[in-house]
């Protein structure tokens, strides 16, 4: 089975992704993660304005198989949460890198991005 791993994103080996635009980072879970979890039925997200640290379990994704914590790849203040997920958690399964995003944060330290996995390195992680 092959998974979609967009080239332009950065990843954690715990299957979160980050997309950065002008100091803002959008965070979600990868195609591998949504496939492993199965049908997502519930999502718990932080509030806007909340400060999260890299490595924090900042969100919870629940599927019919499991309840999983989602870890923050980067630190920052939460500037937006994807409220559409509260009514349509299935967006995570349907479009994990698009409409299924979780939160946006104002990057506290842009240098942190350098420590994240590239698409290539993440793909190697999954294969191993």
């Amino acid at each position: 089975m092959s998974f979609d791993i967009p080239e332009e994103l950065r990843y954690l080996d715990s299957h979160e992704w980050v997309r950065t635009t002008d100091g803002t980072a959008r965070i979600g879970i990868s195609d591998v993660a949504q496939d492993e979890l199965g049908d997502v039925v519930f999502v718990e997200l932080p509030d806007e304005g909340e400060e999260i640290d890299a490595g924090d379990d900042f969100a919870v994704v629940e599927s019919i198989k499991a309840v999983s914590d989602v870890y923050a790849p980067v630190a920052g203040e939460v500037t937006a949460v994807n409220e559409a997920l509260f009514d349509q958690p299935e967006l995570i399964n349907e479009d994990p890198y698009g409409d299924g995003w979780l939160v946006e944060v104002e990057l506290a330290d842009p240098d942190e991005l350098a420590s994240l996995l590239t698409a290539e390195a993440y793909a190697d992680e999954i294969d191993s």
């Binding site: 049908d39 039925v41 519930f42 019919i64 198989k65 958690p89 299935e90």
Partner: protein, 474 residues
């Protein structure tokens, strides 16, 4: 054996609600209460008596219980609930008000004190409280006792160590009691890894929670060393009584080094599970923890009477009065009926039945030797589909997909109550699912009242009341 479950359906709805069958609207002219608290009319179900009786009979036909067929739900010990216990619990002498003075309810208190003593003897514990209303409530009570004990020693211990294969309630009870949970990875053999345990235990350790045999049905061979490691660090060792059915009359948690334990009377002592009535989760402790038991506690006085009192450092109440008395009375009747020999025979047959069934079925059982339960693997099949296929054989399926140590786990506990013929029927249901092709697995069940349930839809748009069904149609 061919099985078809009853299906009383009206269009797409199963047996309708009573109020949908026939209702009457009653008007009330002058209620003797303020107008804002009253209504002018009310619509109520108005079935004729035969309709009422048939309604509940049909509902019972459209569900499945341990009186319908075998119920080998692993970790749950779904044993037969003898009719004798119901008779004892409905005896009018058992219906006493809990506020009556001690001298007027000596018989009731004598039964409680005797059950405390028997449970203590069965578990190797010095004192037992009957108050907690369920197994998880027992865990919570036991941990509160551990906390109060440590505090009284002047120690502030914040962590509870729990193996990754433990029952989910252990983690929840520890968190509810205000502890941080330290998860202990299982060893390759499915048992506690001593090195991992030594690394996890520290001066912060309040307790280790363990069940033995464990969730895979395996006996913890190093149990005495495990207890010693925790005791050396100043922690207590807690026994989750979920799997006590494997040990009855054979071995005692107290002798293995456990300091606190709970008993699941609905598992080990044949009282009903869940909907069959309230639960009870007595807790046993070692002598030095006895002063912390919940109040009121029952004891025999020097002159042979029975009284309720508050233990010296009691953690207080965890439930009303002396606990769920009628459930405890059933447990008392069960122990009294079986006696020492009967209890030892119970665990021996529970282990024999599990081993016979595992031998009969054509599924891999990766961990052993196991005792009262075993965890088979559905391999590359979806364990949930195997379970749904088994429903069509008139049996309840095993627990599925847990523990996660086993791929597509099927956790099976037939209990001592089933005959060889019933175990053969169960084995046939397992093997039919094992041989079924993908289409048959994915379209099962076909013979049950409710067919394939859409679990995703049920979880995404949960409707828990019949009014919600109507809202959904709007």
């Amino acid at each position: 054996m061919h099985y078809d479950q009853a299906r009383w359906a009206d269009e797409d709805r199963y047996e309708p609600l009573l109020i949908e069958k026939r209702s009457e609207t009653v008007e009330i002219d002058d209620a003797p209460l303020p107008a804002e608290l009253t209504r002018d009319e009310i619509t109520m179900a108005a079935p004729a008596e035969p309709e009422l009786a048939r309604h509940y009979t049909r509902l019972s036909q459209e569900t499945y219980g341990v009186d319908s067929g075998p119920f080998p739900l692993g970790s749950c010990t779904m044993k037969h609930n003898p009719a004798l216990l119901e008779r004892v619990a409905t005896d009018e002498n058992a219906a006493v008000h809990p506020d009556r003075p001690d001298e007027s309810v000596q018989g009731t208190l004598a039964v409680m004190a005797t059950l405390q003593e028997w449970l203590g003897r069965i578990g190797g514990m010095d004192a037992v409280t009957l108050q907690p209303p369920a197994g998880a409530a027992g865990e919570y009570t036991g941990l509160l006792i551990a906390k109060a004990y440590h505090e009284r020693q002047g120690e502030d211990r914040t962590e509870v160590v729990i193996p990754d294969s433990a029952h989910g309630t252990n983690f929840a009870s520890a968190a509810m009691a205000g502890f941080d949970v330290v998860e202990l990875p299982s060893g390759d053999d499915g048992r506690v890894n001593l090195e991992a345990l030594e690394a996890a235990v520290s001066e912060e350790t309040a307790a280790l929670m363990l069940t033995n045999p464990n969730t895979l049905g395996l006996f913890e061979r190093d149990i005495e060393t495990i207890a010693e490691v925790v005791h050396d660090a100043g922690g207590l060792v807690y026994y989750d009584g979920a799997n006590l059915n494997a040990l009855l009359g054979q071995a005692r948690p107290g002798d293995m080094g456990f300091d606190v334990m709970h008993y699941n009377v609905h598992k080990t002592f044949a009282t009903p599970h869940g909907g069959g009535g309230p639960g009870a989760g007595p807790v046993g402790v070692r002598e030095e923890l006895a002063p912390y038991l919940p109040a009121p506690h029952v004891r025999e006085t020097e002159d042979g009477a029975y009284e309720r009192y508050e233990p010296e450092h009691s953690i207080g109440k965890v439930h009303g009065f002396e606990g769920n008395w009628l459930v405890l009375l059933k447990a008392y009747a069960y122990v009294r009926r079986l006696g020492d020999e009967g209890l030892a025979d119970t665990s021996a047959k529970a282990v024999l039945n599990a081993n016979y069934l595992a031998e009969r079925i054509d599924f891999e059982v990766p961990y052993g030797p196991f005792h009262h339960e075993f965890v088979a693997s559905a391999g590359d099949r979806d364990a949930a589909n195997v379970a749904k296929h088994m429903l069509d054989h008139g049996v309840h399926p095993p627990t599925t997909k847990w523990p996660e140590l086993v791929e597509e786990a099927l956790m099976v506990e037939p209990t001592e109550a089933e005959s060889k013929e019933t175990l053969d029927l169960l084995a046939a249901a397992f093997d039919a699912a094992g041989e079924a092709d993908a289409d048959a697995l994915e379209s099962a069940p076909r013979r049950t009242t409710a067919r394939r349930i859409d679990q995703v839809e049920a979880a995404r748009s949960t409707r828990l009341t019949w009014q919600a069904l109507d809202e959904d149609e709007d």
